[in-house]
Subunit: 182 residues, 2 copies
């Protein structure tokens, strides 16, 4: 939900800021409502030829899992600029055909968006350049393998997982395949 305009910032964190306000309830009483704000997340479905590039990633205290290329948006950074930066850092690749696929808002109590981009025809121009808090193995997989991986328990990106499961049920996966390979 939107943090109310008159909300007070009561804590400033490394990732999470906390806001509180007095909310009128249905019986006219009030209660202290609390919501969080965190930087938005960028995720990228990257293609090279007929393959999709994903990350097998490990972070301190987080078990190894498959995920989309991507990361946390820096302050004042535009989503598309962040997508290009994360693509280059995590894979050493660039694309001159990046577009927004969909924006998700995963969690009602956090002011937080996940922007998923499609980056077509990626080309390698540099080495991977990772943060000290991540270990990433870049994997290139077929579309069918990608769909399988997204649907497994240990795939990190839940929002795209729900959409892919629905596409499998609706029979609209082919449309999605055309969209990402163009």
């Amino acid at each position: 939900m939107k943090i109310q305009k008159h909300a007070k910032k009561v804590f400033t964190g490394v990732i999470f800021d906390v806001y509180q306000w007095e909310q009128e309830m249905y019986d006219g009483s009030t209660a202290t409502f609390e919501r969080l704000k965190r930087p938005d997340t960028i995720q990228i479905i990257c293609t090279e030829g007929n393959k999709i590039i994903i990350a097998e990633e490990e972070q301190p205290g987080k078990p190894r899992g498959n995920t989309l290329i991507g990361g946390r948006q820096e302050q004042e950074e535009e989503p598309i600029i962040c997508a290009k930066r994360e693509l280059l850092e995590e894979t050493g690749m660039v694309s001159d055909d990046i577009e927004l696929f969909k924006t998700y808002e995963p969690y009602n109590k956090i002011d937080w968006k996940v922007h998923v981009f499609i980056a077509k025809n990626c080309k390698k121009i540099a080495e991977q350049n990772l943060d000290p808090g991540e270990k990433i193995t870049v994997k290139k997989v077929s579309f069918d393998k990608f769909v399988d991986i997204v649907c497994t328990e240990d795939f990190w990106c839940k929002e795209i997982k729900i959409d892919i499961l629905k596409m499998r049920l609706d029979g609209t996966l082919d449309e999605f395949k055309k969209k990402i390979f163009g």
Copy 2:
């Protein structure tokens, strides 16, 4: 992820507490890690005859949507006790056949569990008794209708949605139906 034992609680909120600690990174440097802790959530799949009971719910600042019966666990409250309390408050019903179906941990950066229970043969013994911060219309739907509702965009409980979508794909919905109607 688990909040580290040596983490410091840096903020105590109405819902969210914030913890921080110095985490060693892969190159030997350290960074401040931040994680949240919030009360666990209880959700209940309730049956009466061959129907499933769900809630059409509205909260201040949250659009009306369908969800499972349930709510936030109180401090020191056992999950099963919370399930019985929420069932009684939101529907006026009791069940003498409640069991845990599955526990989810929705979000890596929050120490937070969602316990989903199955409550069979619910019987109405009282009127609904809601918090001033909720408006709930109890609905009784067939199993097929339940599955349809869970899979719609505006159904609040994402974890059970992923599992139901997978059951539809795997053809294991019948097993699940047997499990909840017993």
